[in-house]
């Protein structure tokens, strides 16, 4: 009799726990969708601030206005860098029609855009004969012609090049003079008006692309609704954790760090014109933490938080939750030890880079294990 009772209560307990887990999964996924949306909204708004700075600068070019543009670019990179944790699973950012390639393509074909050292007449900007009109359609069309998965003339790094210019110095970023944009007398380089057009079109395109992805995550967005379908919660979690593992192990530690380290090419880094690569890496890491811990801190200081995947892992397999916490801490510590700028750390073969790579590999594995412990299917 006791046995029967015990068995029955066990069943009830199991049933209750299953309910708790199921409802926590639903909440954690909704929180994920909320923070994705909040992050893209923040990204859009900070990019809009950049557009306003660019418009103001082009209307009346000044050194101060140019600095404002650069500051706005750097500020806008922070939320965007965090959104990269939503990549690598074929979501709205990088599915077949995803605009990622237009936004964050790397490397830039800088001399296809503008002059570079030793080539004062290079680039579309300086070749009105080859490309009479600079327009969105022209830039998008060129990319189609080149038939690549990623554009080489648009996005964040095109803006970076147009604002900073080539990084020709050993220790500092590029030093493009603001006078490159002065039309009429007093300007440096040629074709200043076309350069301004290029800058304006590139920020407009970027805003369009961020909005395209953001809208998919709005409460009435097509992708969000499909993603939050309760019947496929484990598949949706599978996408998230698969993406996190890819991001940590293949992209950040492989593509962005190991390859630069292995080839010792000083400028084989993502934000090579502005020397912003370490900040990029830190934002990538923060983005992964946001996803796992279910929170997002907006650029304006407001913060959202709620049910998280960590809550689920704590409930179902606390040892794995602790392993993830330690792995995040380890990567953070190693990454913080990389001396800026990244290109110098590469040139000096700093062991801080290899140690960060190793820690990221472990983090990717720990996240995948934690995901599997809560039922993520991948």
């Amino acid at each position: 009799m006791f046995l029967f009772l015990a068995a029955a209560s066990l069943f009830v307990a199991c049933g209750e726990k299953e309910d708790v887990v199921a409802s926590l999964k639903k909440d954690a996924l909704e929180q994920y969708a909320d923070l994705v949306l909040a992050n893209y909204e923040d990204s859009y708004n900070t990019a809009l601030t950049l557009k306003q700075a660019i418009d103001a600068f082009l209307a009346a070019p000044s050194d101060a206005g140019f600095q404002t543009c650069k500051t706005a670019w750097l500020a806008a990179r922070n939320p965007y860098g965090q959104t990269e944790a939503f990549r690598f699973y074929g979501g709205p950012i990088d599915d077949a029609d995803g605009p990622e390639g237009f936004m964050n393509a790397w490397p830039m074909d800088e001399n296809y855009i503008d002059y570079v050292q030793g080539q004062p007449n290079a680039g579309i900007i300086n070749n009105p004969g080859a490309q009479p009109v600079i327009s969105k359609e022209v830039l998008v069309g060129l990319n189609e012609l080149f038939s690549s998965e990623t554009a080489v003339f648009t996005g964040w790094h095109a803006l970076e090049f147009l604002l900073w210019g080539q990084d020709l110095s050993i220790s500092g970023p590029g030093a493009r003079p603001y006078t490159d944009y002065i039309v009429g007398g007093g300007g440096t380089a040629a074709n200043q008006a076309r350069r301004g057009q290029y800058l304006q079109i590139t920020i407009d395109l970027l805003l369009e692309h961020i909005a395209q992805v953001r809208d998919e995550w709005k409460t009435d967005g097509a992708y969000r609704q499909e993603f939050l379908n309760e019947e496929t919660n484990n598949e949706s979690m599978g996408l998230i954790f698969f993406g996190l593992r890819e991001f940590a192990k293949t992209e950040i530690s492989g593509e962005r760090m190991f390859v630069a380290f292995d080839t010792k090419d000083q400028e084989h880094e993502h934000s090579c014109f502005a020397d912003n690569t370490i900040a990029d890496l830190k934002m990538n890491l923060l983005g992964m933490k946001n996803v796992y811990y279910g929170s997002y801190k907006n650029s304006n200081g407001t913060e959202i938080s709620g049910s998280s995947f960590n809550d689920l892992v704590l409930l179902l397999d606390p040892v794995k939750a602790e392993a993830v916490r330690v792995a995040f801490e380890e990567v953070e510590a190693k990454m913080n030890a990389i001396p800026a700028p990244f290109d110098q750390a590469v040139a000096n073969s700093s062991t801080t880079i290899t140690e960060t790579i190793a820690a990221l590999q472990i983090l990717g594995d720990r996240l995948a294990e934690a995901g599997k412990a809560i039922g993520a299917e991948f």
């Binding site: 074929g90 077949a96 393509a105 790397w106 490397p107 830039m108 074909d109 800088e110 001399n111 296809y112 570079v116 050292q117 030793g118 080539q119 290079a122 680039g123 579309i124 070749n127 080859a130 189609e144 012609l145 080149f146 038939s147 690549s148 998965e149 990623t150 080489v152 080539q166 990084d167 492989g254 593509e255 190991f258 390859v259 292995d262 080839t263 090419d265 400028e267 084989h268 090579c272 014109f273």
Partner: protein, 466 residues
């Protein structure tokens, strides 16, 4: 105790007997699902099914794979650029990265619309005659390959309009089908007319898995597959191509490319960097420009001499050597086994040879001594006039093609979102590819056509499981 075992054993025996061996389906062979062998098989059958790496490499070799992958995928840009490791594109080219044609290490497709730019389909050009090493002679102005793209302020060579002509056909059971034959038109020829008597051959970028395994199958084994004079009188001959190895400066067995015109992956890769991207290497240090074109652009900046240094080049080659083959799906499914039986019965295996073993060549120990299932003999076969490009390539005649390996073929839709096959992508699916087979494969094709509808589907299911 002995009695008990007996009791259990007898019913088991009976059930086995009752089930028996079905003579109408093939047997599952040990480990046949591990298409790339124990080390060379990946279990990822999703979108990255062609991008996995072989198991058992050293940590240094794993690092080569990462860097090689990066340079395979990354866009190359025109020189000079801040990222010096990736500049030197062009001046004329077909693609800005390896991965833009071999997307996700997979297979390209032909343009869907006549005006669509080429993306993974290129055209080899030649005039009658051979060079000093038995290779083909390029067009005097356009060279051995048509480059349809160019860097800023340089003219591309031409554009290509691709259209198709449909031809209706019918199976003996009355089921209708339609095959499409491509028609090519070279337009906007920017360097004057093409040579008279010009021959051209369309080539689509194939999927990459398992190449390093095929590279070290002993040449003697492949030569033993050959039956140049059809001594066994089964209608299938098969002969090796013999091609120029630029590194060793001698004639060797050709293994890679649609006509087996490349001896190894280093030369294939260097050739593609040079012809397709316009990137020079130590093996091919000159940009792919004819003297006429060189005169026209004397001052185009290059991205270094060579543009891809040896260290990085070898890592890209290493990457192409160590892409693992996806595991087979449903290899023990009854329909698949029926298809396998038929595939064998109608002698598809005469050329699409199921298994072979790798040797011990090269320094990647993980690839050595693997039993692999590539479904090719790496030999040239006459495929009939329907598929002919009428352009010789070393020993390959205008009607001969190398037996394409079939491993991974069923995952092309998963990885690349299409199912176009054959050297120019004319076949829209496996069935059409089979129907295009002619020449030495005519008997097998006709036997396929004569199968019942359900057997045809079973054979296709089998091919999809590869």
């Amino acid at each position: 105790m002995r009695l008990l075992i007996f009791c259990i054993a007898i019913p088991l025996l009976f059930s086995a007997c009752k089930k028996g061996i079905d003579p109408t389906i093939a047997q599952v062979e040990p480990e046949e699902q591990y298409a790339g062998g124990v080390n060379g098989t990946t279990f990822d059958i999703g979108q990255n099914a062609f991008g996995g790496q072989v198991n058992g490499m050293s940590s240094e070799q794993n690092g080569f794979f990462v860097t090689g992958n990066s340079f395979f995928r990354s866009n190359w840009v025109s020189a000079p650029a801040s990222v010096q490791t990736l500049d030197g594109l062009g001046p004329i080219f077909n693609a800005i990265s390896c991965g833009s044609c071999h997307f996700k290490d997979g297979r390209a497709k032909p343009p869907g619309q006549p005006e669509e730019p080429l993306n993974g389909l290129l055209f080899r050009l030649s005039i009658p005659g051979t060079d000093a090493h038995g290779g083909s002679l390029g067009d005097p102005v356009y060279g051995g390959q048509l480059q349809d793209k160019a860097i800023l302020n340089v003219q591309n060579e031409a554009r290509v309009r691709v259209t198709y002509q449909e031809t209706a056909g019918q199976y003996p059971d009355g089921t209708a089908y339609s095959l499409r034959q491509p028609l090519y038109e070279f337009i906007d020829l920017n360097y004057g007319p093409l040579a008279s008597g010009l021959m051209f051959s369309p080539r689509i970028a194939p999927q990459m898995p398992g190449l390093g395994l095929l590279e070290i199958v002993p040449a003697s084994d492949i030569l033993a597959f050959a039956d140049e004079n059809d001594a066994d009188q089964n209608g299938v001959s098969g002969r090796p191509n013999q091609v120029w190895d630029a590194n060793s400066q001698q004639v060797v067995l050709g293994r890679f490319g649609w006509k087996a015109n490349q001896p190894n992956l280093a030369q294939q890769t260097a050739g593609a960097f040079n012809g397709d991207l316009g990137i020079t290497s130590n093996l091919f240090p000159q940009d792919h420009l004819s003297p006429t074109q060189q005169q026209q652009y004397p001052n185009v900046p290059n991205g270094g001499t060579p543009e891809i240094p040896d260290d990085i080049f070898h890592k890209v080659v290493h990457y192409t050597q160590t892409l693992a083959v996806p595991v087979r799906r449903d290899h023990d499914d009854v329909t698949v086994l029926r298809g396998k039986f038929l595939f064998n019965q109608i002698n598809c295996t005469g050329c699409h040879r199921p298994e072979m073993n790798t040797g011990t060549g090269g320094n990647i120990a993980a690839l050595h001594n693997q039993k692999i299932w590539p479904y090719t003999d790496l030999l040239l076969h006459d495929m009939g006039s329907g598929l002919a490009d009428n352009r010789p390539d070393f020993l390959a005649t205008g009607t001969e093609w190398r037996t394409a390996p079939l491993w991974g073929i069923g995952l092309i839709p998963t990885v690349n979102g299409h199912s176009f096959l054959l050297h120019d992508g004319r076949a829209r699916n496996i069935e059409e590819a089979i129907l295009w087979h002619g020449g030495e494969a005519e008997k097998s094709r006709d036997a396929f056509k004569a199968l019942s509808h359900s057997d045809r589907l079973a054979l296709i299911r089998f091919v999809e499981s590869l």
